[in-house]
């Protein structure tokens, strides 16, 4: 459990040195308060103060499109495409999201496409000192503080960055760059003070204990709240695309123009889209938007609790920010709570 310190004026050197070793992905500003994880080569490109990126870092673990099989007329081979990369500046909510995906794809039968990529990604987390905006519910989901899932973790102070070195991979990076100083007792007490102060900023966003949310869903399957969402949802699929824990996919064949070679690829799919649960005869097992929204919420707050013993919501607020119909996750939970008061 080592901590090291990097003076802020050396951050640029750190990123440059890192990007000389491998690809570095980090949040960059795209204007209009929109941010995106993208490749960077210097610290100046990175937006260290950012609200959740449009897409979570899951896009590096499970790309929007990825080839599973390449084929020609005689043979077919399963393949995986990957980069050796560092994702720098991952907020604690997104670290939690990656932990969820890790569980899903490590289950048997294992998904080796995901796991090969995972093993080639180094993660550097970044602590939040305040709420991103009104949509965040990270405290309710216990994701406001670091909870593992990183190689290095940065806490930002006025004049320096404090790095928690969590794995050997992280230690190797620190050693290879060689511009860090060991943290001393005053750094550590400042970190403790910072975390204490966070406790007064991050308060449970809804009047419910996190552990009681699953029980709330146990009695909400036929709630009127879903009828309300049925009226409002546009079935665009934005909420699932931007969700750090949504992983549903479709598998599609794409023949090349020569008609003898081609690829079978996986792409993101969304349970919010009308054909998602349709079968060949035409029957659709989740025909209404209300049922599809209900399914999404149950996939966050109920079903994974039974299987993985954790919620698949990280409180990042992306689904609420991206919703064109202004369906806000916190409001939906609040409405469900009210129904049972």
């Amino acid at each position: 459990m080592a901590y090291v310190v990097l003076r802020k004026d050396r951050f640029d050197d750190f990123v440059s040195a890192l990007s000389a070793q491998r690809k570095v992905m980090a949040p960059v500003s795209r204007g209009y308060n929109q941010f995106e994880f993208d490749e960077v080569h210097s610290g100046r490109e990175i937006a260290l103060s950012y609200i959740p990126t449009i897409l979570p870092p899951k896009k590096y673990f499970m790309p929007q499109r990825e080839t599973l099989i390449q084929f020609n007329s005689d043979s077919a081979e399963a393949v995986v495409d990957f980069y050796n990369m560092v994702i720098l500046g991952v907020h604690t909510c997104d670290l939690a999201g990656i932990q969820c995906l890790n569980m899903v794809f490590s289950e048997r039968p294992k998904d080796y496409n995901y796991l090969v990529r995972k093993n080639n990604i180094t993660i550097i987390g970044l602590e939040c000192n305040d709420y991103c905006d009104k949509y965040a519910s990270c405290t309710l989901m216990s994701a406001e503080l670091p909870n593992g899932g990183y190689d290095l973790f940065i806490t930002e102070f006025d004049e320096y960055l404090l790095f928690h070195v969590s794995t050997q991979t992280g230690e190797d990076i620190i050693n290879s760059v060689g511009i860090f100083e060991p943290a001393n007792a005053s750094h550590m007490s400042r970190l403790a003070g910072y975390r204490r102060q966070k406790r007064s900023i991050f308060n449970k966003e809804l009047p419910v204990d996190s552990k009681d949310i699953a029980a709330l869903f146990d009695k909400s399957f036929n709630s009127r709240v879903w009828d309300g969402l049925n009226e409002r949802c546009l079935a665009c699929g934005n909420c699932t695309n931007v969700c750090p824990t949504c992983y549903c996919f479709d598998v599609i064949d794409e023949p090349a123009l020569d008609l003898t070679t081609g690829r079978r690829y996986r792409r993101w799919d969304s349970c919010q889209l009308e054909p998602f649960a349709r079968v060949a005869g035409g029957a659709n097992f989740r025909e209404s938007r209300g049922h599809r929204q209900r399914h999404r919420y149950y996939r966050k707050f109920s079903y994974p609790v039974r299987k993985f013993f954790r919620y698949f919501c990280t409180g990042c607020g992306r689904c609420s920010r991206a919703c064109m119909a202004n369906i806000v996750l916190k409001d939906v939970l609040r409405d469900l709570l009210r129904e049972h008061q």
Partner: protein
């Protein structure tokens, strides 16, 4: 970007050879498939495979023959979409991709020593055929066996010649009904629930198996419950689009269950509180 060959990928397919292809109806073809080097599929009745033609895609298809058939297995495929349409163009000697078998099949061990009522609606006879063949191959392991088949019209009755054989056997009771008869039809007319035999039933030693279109389950289950068959002994095979077969892609999800892994065969007591199931 690095590209690596994945020998362990569960998306890899085996090349199955079409040993025999036979038209069952204008929309349905029966394919007999052999895996390379005489390898067996080792499936349970009621399981399914993912079948693919590279360039067209992949589709989940139930295995409609019993594992007792030997080195080959049968797939009955209706021409309804891009993949199945392409498969219909294949001929004997052609290959197709096979992954699987997947899912939980019929609990045949539990059936042993008990009476069976096997109920199929329309295309439901396709997955159920694997069980019928299995039961006939191991006939003395089971008690009384009834097979009830309901179809829209006589033209929709698949496996006519095979059904003729079942009809002739002294050790199975076979009945067929259609919603709408034609002048040549000599069988029953009416809903399938009317075929459930009254006298057969010693409820505690009867297992009922239902495979049919989604709309059929409620009525048939209701009828079986009226005859006091225990929930646990009512077995259904549910239809969903099982795209990946690994409990991940989400398409076949029924609330917290994945049809491809937890099913497609369920005991009624497992799903009776699950509103999305039937």
């Amino acid at each position: 970007m690095n590209r690596q060959i994945l020998n362990s990928s569960h998306f890899s397919v085996e090349r199955g050879v079409i040993v025999k292809a036979r038209e069952l109806s204008p929309h349905d073809k029966l394919f007999e498939i052999a895996l390379p080097e005489g390898k067996r599929l080792h499936h349970d009745p009621g399981q399914f495979v993912e079948v693919s033609v590279f360039g067209a895609g992949e589709a989940p298809i139930s295995v409609c023959s019993s594992p007792t058939q030997g080195d080959t297995f049968d797939l009955c495929i209706r021409d309804v979409g891009r993949v199945t349409h392409t498969i219909h163009t294949l001929r004997e000697g052609d290959t197709l991709g096979v992954r699987g078998p997947f899912g939980r099949g019929f609990p045949v061990r539990l059936f042993e020593g008990n009476d069976l009522v096997l109920i199929a609606g329309g295309l439901g006879i396709v997955p159920l055929r694997s069980l019928v063949q299995y039961v006939i191959s191991n006939r003395r392991d089971f008690g009384k066996v009834s097979i009830l088949l309901g179809c829209k019209t006589p033209e929709d009755v698949l496996f006519g010649d095979e059904i003729e054989q079942w009809n002739k056997r002294i050790d199975v009771h076979f009945v067929c009904t259609v919603d709408k008869a034609d002048p040549e039809w000599c069988g029953h007319v009416g809903v399938i629930t009317s075929l459930i035999p009254e006298e057969m039933l010693i409820p505690e030693r009867t297992f009922a198996v239902i495979v049919g279109p989604p709309v059929m389950y409620k009525y048939v289950i209701g009828e079986l419950l009226k005859k006091h068959i225990p929930d646990r002994q009512i077995i259904v095979s549910l239809e969903r689009h099982m795209k990946c077969g690994m409990g991940r892609c989400g398409h076949c999800q029924i609330e917290n269950l994945y049809c491809c892994c937890d099913g497609p065969v369920f005991h009624y007591d497992e799903i009776k509180h699950i509103e999305e199931a039937i």
